[in-house]
């Protein structure tokens, strides 16, 4: 039975964070025909439905875009043509049969449809005793949207979300859909793509390019991911003076000079900082989480229902606060932080229980720049100096991740990438402040890249300069291979990709 394709009458679409409104030709919701049970025939029928939408776009010479949570600040998911809302597509297929060469357990694999949200994943995985290795601080994104823009957490042992993905099912034309994975690490048993009617393509370059595909590689219908046994995080947040030793921790992840909150001798699994640049005399907030097989005795569970939760970062703080007050001034931000973003000790829960935010909206505006370890202090001091000259009501966040194998991942800096989030209210002051930081960074020698889903002012030459000629060329070549005709490439392009020189 074909999927239910509901055509909306609305001709305008707004992203989740309400940073822009896009005029469009058509918005469609795609629902599996039987939404109550994950079935292979239902999945295959939905693939055909997506192919029909691609045919319609080609016939009418319209662009086509898959829409996930709409969580991006940038116009990555926006189109003036057909916007395909994939959020209702949330089939789950745990433990698929694996390729004989795959060294892992099939129980550690989960195949899902594109529209499964990170929150849904956390919920389902806990029920079967499993967990994601990482996710962003908020979890309203869909899996396809999260990986497509390179969403990351601050887990010191893994990369960003796309780095736990080991297979992609891409619908690339009205008569072709492919199962893509690495040739160097085949995972799925050949029978499964056959059963889905997909062409099996094992190619490292294609797979790495399509991982952070910015919606430009066709419609991502399915994602195969590696998950891990359920673990618990013992979490602490403390306000600490910004000493030379803490700077060294931020810059090098060298914790030898400081006493981190929590039990001594344990290596942090998650480490992040939130800095209010206008209130540094009272210190900065450091959040540390330690991984355990079960919660240590004496720990307390996270409190559901509080406005800000243990895993929240700068963007969630600003989002929650701007939902409460329309105008966030520098003194008011400090006062509200005192009230709502507080220290805590020995709180323990699963990954999904600590990173719970599906509701943040508000009028937040944020950018994120990634730099290698060793250049973190220089970057933060550059941002602080600009704030001294032109203070803005906002926060800095520092998060860390291993470099990604995805061709255009912005978290690409070895040996470890630090992401400086700069989040504030959606005001002229915040935008102007960010622009100054970007200008100063461009003049500096600091290698840096920008989050695709947060604000930036990259153009074609800047993308090539920041992400590397070889990476950009490899990404474009992979796109030409998967979308071999100019018509297909035009259908899966949008203003965002054209502006970046990636269409």
């Amino acid at each position: 039975m074909p999927p239910v394709i509901h055509e909306s009458s609305q001709k305008r679409w707004q992203n989740w964070h309400q940073s822009y409104i896009q005029k469009l030709e058509l918005l469609v919701d795609v629902w599996n025909e039987d939404a109550s049970q994950s079935t292979v025939p239902g999945y295959i029928d939905t693939t055909r439905g997506l192919q029909g939408l691609i045919q319609r776009a080609l016939t009418q010479r319209l662009e086509l875009r898959g829409l996930g949570g709409g969580w991006s600040f940038t116009k990555a998911p926006a189109t003036s043509g057909i916007l395909v809302n994939t959020r209702p597509l949330n089939y789950l297929f745990p433990a698929p049969r694996t390729h004989p060469a795959h060294p892992g357990r099939r129980e550690d694999l989960l195949f899902t449809q594109c529209g499964v949200s990170v929150a849904e994943l956390n919920h389902f995985l806990k029920r079967i005793g499993k967990s994601l290795t990482t996710s962003g601080a908020s979890n309203g994104q869909t899996i396809a949207g999260a990986i497509g823009t390179g969403t990351h957490g601050s887990n010191l042992e893994t990369g960003a979300m796309q780095d736990f993905v080991v297979g992609l099912h891409l619908v690339v034309s009205p008569d072709r859909h492919v199962w893509l994975e690495r040739a160097s690490a085949p995972v799925i048993n050949d029978e499964i793509p056959q059963k889905l009617g997909a062409e099996l393509v094992r190619d490292d370059a294609l797979f790495n390019a399509a991982l952070v595909g910015l919606g430009g590689f066709g419609l991502v219908h399915g994602v195969l991911m590696e998950v891990v046994d359920l673990y618990y995080l013992q979490a602490y947040r403390r306000r600490m003076p910004l000493t030379e030793e803490l700077w060294r921790a931020f810059d090098q992840l060298d914790f030898s000079g400081i006493t981190l909150p929590g039990p001594p001798g344990l290596k942090p699994y998650h480490f992040t900082a939130v800095i209010n640049p206008n209130d540094m005399d009272r210190g900065v907030f450091v959040t540390v989480m330690y991984k355990h097989a079960r919660c240590p005795e004496g720990s307390t569970p996270p409190s559901p229902g509080s406005k800000l939760t243990q895993g929240d970062n700068g963007l969630e703080i600003i989002g929650v606060l701007t939902d409460m007050v329309s105008e966030l001034t520098i003194p008011l931000l400090s006062r509200l932080m005192d009230r709502f973003y507080t220290e805590y000790e020995n709180v323990c829960g699963t990954h999904g229980e600590l990173f719970t935010d599906t509701t943040t909206r508000g009028k937040a505006w944020g950018s994120a720049v990634a730099v290698p370890l060793g250049r973190v202090r220089e970057t933060v001091e550059l941002a602080l100096a600009i704030n001294r000259a032109q203070p803005f009501p906002g926060l800095f966040g520092l998060r860390y991740t291993l470099p990604s194998r995805a061709t255009l991942a912005f978290t690409q800096h070895a040996p470890m990438t630090c992401i400086l989030d700069i989040d504030g209210t959606a005001s002229t002051r915040t935008k102007s402040y960010n622009r100054r930081v970007w200008q100063q960074l461009a003049k500096s020698s600091i290698p840096h890249t920008y989050h695709w889903g947060k604000f930036h002012e990259l153009d074609g030459p800047a993308v090539r300069g920041r992400y590397g000629e070889a990476h950009v060329n490899a990404w474009l070549e992979a796109r030409r291979t998967l979308l071999p005709t100019p018509e297909l490439r035009a259908a899966f392009a949008n203003d965002y990709l054209r502006g970046l020189g990636l269409a």
Partner: protein, 117 residues
């Protein structure tokens, strides 16, 4: 911008100055659809109340409902002494909760349990 200026600007330009949003907590709050809405009228001091036509949720529940008003709606309510009271209501549908499936090649053996038969 001062609070007074912000309030004046809001009044002057407003399409919706006050929102009340109810969203299901946790995973249930991750909606399946974009916001869809309509203006509903309460007439005759509540004698006639319009109901929204929710036709896009495919038998699923609602994940979120937002009620908004603006200065125009408030004026209508005041000038008609409450005879006519418009409100804008928007909703987002909840996601289905499908049971997990099997890709169809040899089922996974159930895990051994400590409890015997």
């Amino acid at each position: 911008m001062s609070k007074r200026a912000a309030a004046l600007l809001c009044l002057g330009l407003s399409s919706a100055c006050a929102h009340y949003r109810v969203q299901a907590p946790g995973a249930a709050g991750a909606s399946a659809t974009e916001a869809q809405g309509e203006v509903l009228w309460s007439l005759g001091w509540g004698l006639v109340q319009e109901r929204p036509r929710v036709d896009n949720c495919q038998d699923q529940a609602l994940a979120e409902v937002t009620q908004s008003t603006n200065v125009g709606f408030a004026l209508i309510s005041v000038l008609t002494l409450g005879l006519a009271m418009p409100q804008r209501v928007e909703w987002r549908c909840a996601k289905a909760q499908p049971t997990p499936g099997d890709l169809g090649v040899r089922p996974v053996a159930p895990p051994a349990t400590a409890e015997g038969p």
